[in-house]
Amino acid sequence: MSGVVDLLLEPLRYGFLLRALVAAVLVGTLCALVGSYVVLKGLAFIGDALAHVAFTGIVVAFLAGFSFYLGALAAAVAAGLGIGWVTRRVGLSTDTAIGIVFSGLFALGVVLMAIGIRTYTVDLFSYVFGDILAVRSRDLLAIGLAGAVVLVTMLLLYKELLFAHFDPVVAEAAGLPVGALQLLLLLLLSVTVVVSVQAVGVVLVLAMLVTPAATAALVARRMPSMMALGVVFGAVAAAVGFYLSYYLSVPSGGAIVLVATLFFALVAGVVRGRGAWRRLMAARS
């Protein structure tokens, strides 16, 4: 027994590993919380696009020499607002537009990165696949602050966000600012994606947004329990993934997402045929 405890505590003697664990759990928590809406409203593609835009923001920030969080946040928020504007203006089927614009921007980031690597020694690839061990103190501060903002906003505006996304027409008729609330959700999604990029990487942010929340949706019957269970699945997957990453020397992003996917497979196996699974798969996007 003490052997297991030692295994768990051993990495935490190092400051950078402790930071990494805290960062991973924070990211798992945040992603699952916002992910509830991503799963229910079919925003997965938008979340993915935001992560790619954030990457380009990071590259530009590196080349221009300012904080990469600033760069990523500016890019993702601009993209989030842009998507909000486009969906309200143009209406349906914005997938193609989002696909074109944001894979274009990501391609720009990749090309700029190639240029950047010639002049800078920073390994920008760690943002593509995630490197949680590279989290510095001030990164952790940024993740903590952003996380607190997202968490407090989602708790304070719980009923407004729920009504506005469950039944936008009636919510608007009753006097709720539905447009602003939908935009707010995109902003929260942007912030979450940005702080998650360093931990799990551009490619795997989507998995953290979708998988724990979807696992929770298999068993939860109400919104608060879906969010709470999602947070548990996300945070535990992040912690377990962190230890796997440390002991097996594999990328943290891959390890965390693999654990989250395993959770989903296990829960899906247990609840198979109980209706929840069918409901989730039938969910429209």
């Binding site: 009923k159 009504f163 006097g175």
Partner: protein
């Protein structure tokens, strides 16, 4: 006698017996293509008003204007004497395709949403809200289903829940857009009974429906709408073959026995009775 700022407001309401005044309303979604043209009518408080017209005649557009979601291009829309704007005093039950059925929300959750606009920002629903929600669920016969997921209900049951949510909002005016289409017969009957009871208590209700016979029998006023107001008045005056056929641009036959009116569509003999 009355307290605080509510007193002058209540006095103003009492002074005007009109819940809704629409004058010369022209509006639509795209410039140059008005859906409603010069619509005028007034609804007295406590009336049950049927809004009749073919699909695409502007019934939903009229409701959006009354809710203040669609600004008038010309004319004005007054609700309780003030320009229409979204507010909790007017409850809307739309046609149902805009709802996200995948949400993990129970019957009680949905009913409680009716309280949200009354609570204000950041505040959570309390014990009194919960008691009211349970009471209205009992009124609509859905109390036993309070912990069911909304996705698990039949069409008629869902409609009862949306009625419960509207009731929980404690509005003065109800706008119902085709509340009985695709709903089982007992629920249809129940919806109209409930509306009659609400209107007797001084609430006002506008109901868009295709159920001509029901309107003829139960409603106080009928608005025949086809982009313009074809007629507005009590059903006995408005339900003439000429006016109905001008509204629906088809051949309807009216059969009357005693005070009952049955509308028959002459082409396919589709008969509806109430």
């Amino acid at each position: 006698m009355q307290r605080g700022t509510a007193a002058p407001e209540r006095a103003a309401r009492a002074a005007t017996a009109l819940a809704i005044t629409v004058e010369g309303l022209t509006t639509g979604y795209r410039r140059g293509e008005p859906i409603l043209r010069g619509v005028s009518f007034a609804v007295e408080r406590g009336s049950l008003v049927g809004v009749l017209g073919p699909n695409g005649s502007g019934k939903s557009t009229l409701f959006r204007s009354l809710l203040g979601l669609l600004p008038p291009w010309q004319g004005h829309v007054l609700v309780e004497g003030k320009p229409a704007r979204p507010n909790p005093d007017i409850a809307y039950i739309p046609q149902r395709e805009t709802i996200d059925w995948d949400f993990p929300v129970t019957v009680l959750d949905v009913t409680l949403m009716g309280r949200y606009p009354r609570l204000g920002l950041f505040r959570r629903s309390g014990k009194a809200d919960r008691e009211l929600a349970l009471w209205v669920l009992e009124q609509v016969g859905m109390l036993a289903f309070r912990d069911r997921l909304i996705a698990e209900l039949s069409g008629g049951q869902r409609q009862r829940v949306f009625l419960a949510r509207a009731l929980a909002q404690e509005p003065e005016i109800f706008l119902l857009d085709e509340p009985v289409s695709g709903v089982d017969a007992p629920t249809q009957h129940f919806v109209f009974e409930l509306l009659e009871r609400l209107c007797r208590q001084g609430k006002t209700a506008l109901v868009a429906t295709h159920d001509l016979s029901c309107v003829a029998q139960r409603f106080d006023r009928v608005l025949l709408l086809n982009h313009e107001v074809i007629a507005y008045g009590p059903p006995q005056e408005v339900f003439t073959e000429t006016l109905l056929n001008r509204t629906f641009q088809s051949h309807l036959l009216l059969l009357r026995y005693g005070d009952r009116v049955i509308v028959v569509e002459s082409e396919d003999g589709d008969e509806r009775s109430c």
